[in-house]
Each structure stands twice: as structure tokens, then as C-alpha cells.
Amino acid sequence: MNTTILLATAARILNQFRHDRRTVALMVLMPSLLLILLRFVFNSEAAFSRAAPALLAVFPFAIMFIVTSITTLRERTTATLERLMTMPIAKLDLLFGYALAFGVVALVQVLVAVGVSLWWLGLSIGGSVWLLVVIAGLDALLGTALGLFASAFARTEFQAVQFMPLFVMPQVLLCGLFAPRESMTPVLEWLSNVMPLSYAVDALTAVTTSSDITGELLRNLVIVAACGLLALVLGAVTLRRRTP
């Protein structure tokens, strides 16, 4: 790995965003707009406060997944990846460059969503605001990493879009947002236990309800971060210098 090349790659991707203002606006504002919509659907601060923490995990996760998988697929299907693979760039330089650039965007997205929820929509939290931001940010990074990984299995952008329901929706359904995880049938509970989004939602719920930093909270954070890292490394394995 080479830090200069990694940073140059991240700067290049952020530069590409700079030339595409509409995408940046959509990425930064979309979770907040959805949360605002949800707040008025519930029409009650209490009901919103119960559902919001889980959705602060779900929305950035889903949006970063789809944006990353399409962007990476574009690099794979245009010849730029083939050119890069003939150059002295390590695969991890490229993937961590992607993760860093999208991480910056994800952080802005999460800051806006948390700000809007706390100061406008009436979300009340018991724990630290910063911890909330860290968890939601990690979760957006997890979406980025899974998106990078999933793009390896798509040949076209059309397929990549279809991966969003495949990779994201089961995690949303099983993360505890719609029904408590403990009340699910054993098979579903087991499935929910192997899905990283469940741990992000658990961690966010813990931070909003209490100010204690428990061992379980830290464990959940480590699991989310480790899953993100694992997806990035698996993504590097699926990148091939030689192709058929």
C-alpha cells in the first residue's frame, strides 16, 4: 500500500463529485428528506423518536450502498480500471481510496441527518450526540464497503441496481426495525444475528436511550467496523489484474 496513491485516488473521486453537483446534493440531503417525511407520517414526536435511531442507520447505509456500487461498477466497465491495473497501484490503495472519499461524503450526510433530527424533528437522545454520529458514520461506511464488494458480481449497472434489494432489504427487514429481533422465529433470529446492520441498529438504539457506554455497545461498534473492513478486503480479492 502507498499512502500518496491512496490519497490521490480519494481526491480524484471527490473531484469527480465536485463536477456532479446534483449527485452530491442528492447524497447529502436524501436521508434527511426521508426522515422529515417519516416525522410527518408519524405525526408524533414520541413515535418518531422510537423509529428514528434505526432509520438513521438504514437510510445512509442503503444510499451509500447504491451510490458506491454504481460508481465502482462504472470504473470496472469503462477501461479506466484496466488501465489502472497496468500501473503501480495496489488494489487496496484503490479500494481504501474509494472508502475514504465516500466516507467523507457519508460523514456529511450523517451530520446533516442527525442535525435535522435533533434540532428540528424533535428526536431526543439520552447518550452522546457524537457517539450517534460515529455509529451512523460507521454504518454508512459499511454500506460503502458492501457496495464495493457487490459491484464485483454485477456485469451491468442494471444488475447493480437490483443488488440493492438483494443486499440491503433483508438486512432492513431483519434489523429490528419492524419487529424485535428476539421475537423472530429461530431461523430469522439467526439470520438477523449474522447481518451487520442489526448491530448498527442495536448500537444506535442504545445510544439514544441511555448515556452509558456499555461493553455490549462497544462490541456492536467493533462488529460493524470489522464487517466493513472485511467487505473491503473481499472487494480487493474480487479485483483482478488479469481478466478473460
Binding site: T9, H19, T80, R83, T86, M87, I89, P244
Partner: protein, 240 residues
């Protein structure tokens, strides 16, 4: 150590999509020369070039580049490669593209101005690549291949769609580079470019028909131009 051959291909076989697209291709490309790779579309030119830069999965044979097996990590900043479809980022400007690839190659920043000048893109540095014309786009892609100090340039159809004057300037650039010791492998499907090369590789249907100098090919086939020489070689191989 390296002999005078920059590239040595021996018995190369490549399958793509279940089809044999390179059938026991063997050739050598001398150092410091411009070698033309000619043949109709679909004959295997791009596959051979991909094998030389080390991004093609091969089924058999060997490719040695600058004294090392093709695709060796040590070769990655010694080869410049321009793919047939321009491989640059459409949502970046010309200069932003060049600066990024410059950083990846760890080449000096001053290279950006040099290559812009070499491909005649002065004045377009700040323009978004997606707004360039086809010819400007392929020259941007060519400029990336010239960054750093590549000892081998593999250029897949670099002159498609260029006006004759620019095409002439690029061929002059190729010869200047060759005189400095750079080896160039340039593909084309137009025969009138063949005469500009020092050596020619003629391909058809995954096999090499000829590997010689243009004048030797004319003499061997007893024809007046290379188009006729190519036809004569094709007929000869089909009769055999």
C-alpha cells in the same frame, strides 16, 4: 539480461468466451522501434496487446517484456498503455485526469504540461473530458500513456478519427520516441499507416501472417503496396 528484443512472444494461445482467439502466436519486437500491428477488426490485435501489458488471462505460451514475464509488478511503471476505448474519467478535466495518473505513476508533476503539448491538447487542460470531441478524447487517453518515462508504449488504435495533420504529427512523435530508445507497438486497421512503421505484424483470424519490415513484405509478395501485400498473404495462407 535483455537482448535487443523488448517483447518476446512464444506460442501464445488465448481463449475468450470459449473461442480460441490467439492461435500459437510467436513474434519479437525489437527495442527502439515502431512496430505496427495490423489486421481486420476482430483478428486478435487487442488481445495480443492485453497479453503484452499483462491484463489478459492466457491459456498457453509465454510473453516476456523488457526481460521479465508480462504483468510482473516491476514492469508497471515501465509500460504505457492506451486502450482502444479511451480510458480516462469523463467527469474530470483533462488536467485533473493527467494529474491523477501522474500521482499513481509517481511521475513528476511537470509531465502533465509535457504530454499535453506532445499530443497537441494545449488550451483544453481545463475542459471536462466528457465535453471533448472524439479525437481530443483519444488524445487525452494517449497523453496518459506518455506520462512518466515508459520504455514500452502499447497503443491500441491511437489515431482513429484524427484529422490527417494531427495523425502525421503523432506519427512524428512516435518516431522521435523510438529514436530515443522507446519501443512502440501500435495497432491500426488502416493499411496506409503500415508504411510508417519500421516493422509490421500482420494478423488475421488469431494467427500471425507476417512479421517483417514493410519493404521486405513488398519484395516477398511482389506487390506495389501493403494492402496488396496483405491480400496476397491472406490468399497464400488460405491456399495452404
Amino acid at each position: 539480461m535483455t537482448s535487443s528484443a523488448a517483447v518476446e512472444v512464444k506460442g501464445l494461445r488465448v481463449h475468450r468466451g470459449g473461442r480460441l482467439v490467439l492461435r500459437d502466436v510467436s513474434c519479437t519486437i525489437p527495442q527502439g522501434s515502431v512496430t505496427g500491428l495490423l489486421g481486420p477488426s476482430g483478428c486478435g490485435k487487442t488481445t495480443l496487446m492485453r497479453a503484452v501489458v499483462g491484463v489478459q488471462i492466457v491459456s498457453g505460451g509465454s510473453v516476456s517484456v523488457l526481460g521479465a514475464p508480462a504483468g510482473s509488478p516491476g514492469l508497471r511503471n515501465r509500460i504505457g498503455y492506451a486502450t482502444q476505448n479511451p480510458s480516462v474519467y469523463g467527469d474530470l478535466t483533462v488536467a485533473e485526469n493527467l494529474r491523477y495518473f501522474c500521482a499513481v505513476l509517481r511521475a513528476p508533476r511537470s509531465d502533465v504540461a509535457r504530454v499535453v503539448d506532445e499530443v497537441g491538447l494545449g488550451g483544453h487542460e481545463g475542459q471536462l473530458v466528457s465535453s471533448l470531441s472524439g479525437g481530443e478524447l483519444s488524445r487525452t487517453s494517449l497523453a496518459v500513456a506518455l506520462l512518466g518515462t515508459p520504455e514500452l508504449l502499447v497503443l491500441d488504435e491511437p489515431t482513429v478519427g484524427l484529422d490527417p495533420l494531427l495523425r502525421d504529427e503523432l506519427w512524428t512523435l512516435f518516431r522521435t520516441l523510438a529514436s530515443r530508445g522507446v519501443t512502440l507497438l501500435v495497432s491500426s486497421h488502416v493499411m496506409d499507416e503500415a508504411a510508417r512503421c519500421e516493422r509490421l505484424l500482420l494478423m488475421r483470424d488469431g494467427a500471425l501472417l507476417a512479421d517483417d519490415t514493410p519493404s521486405a513484405l513488398l519484395a516477398q509478395t511482389g506487390t506495389g503496396d501493403l494492402e496488396q501485400a496483405f491480400l496476397s498473404l491472406v490468399r497464400e495462407s488460405e491456399a495452404a
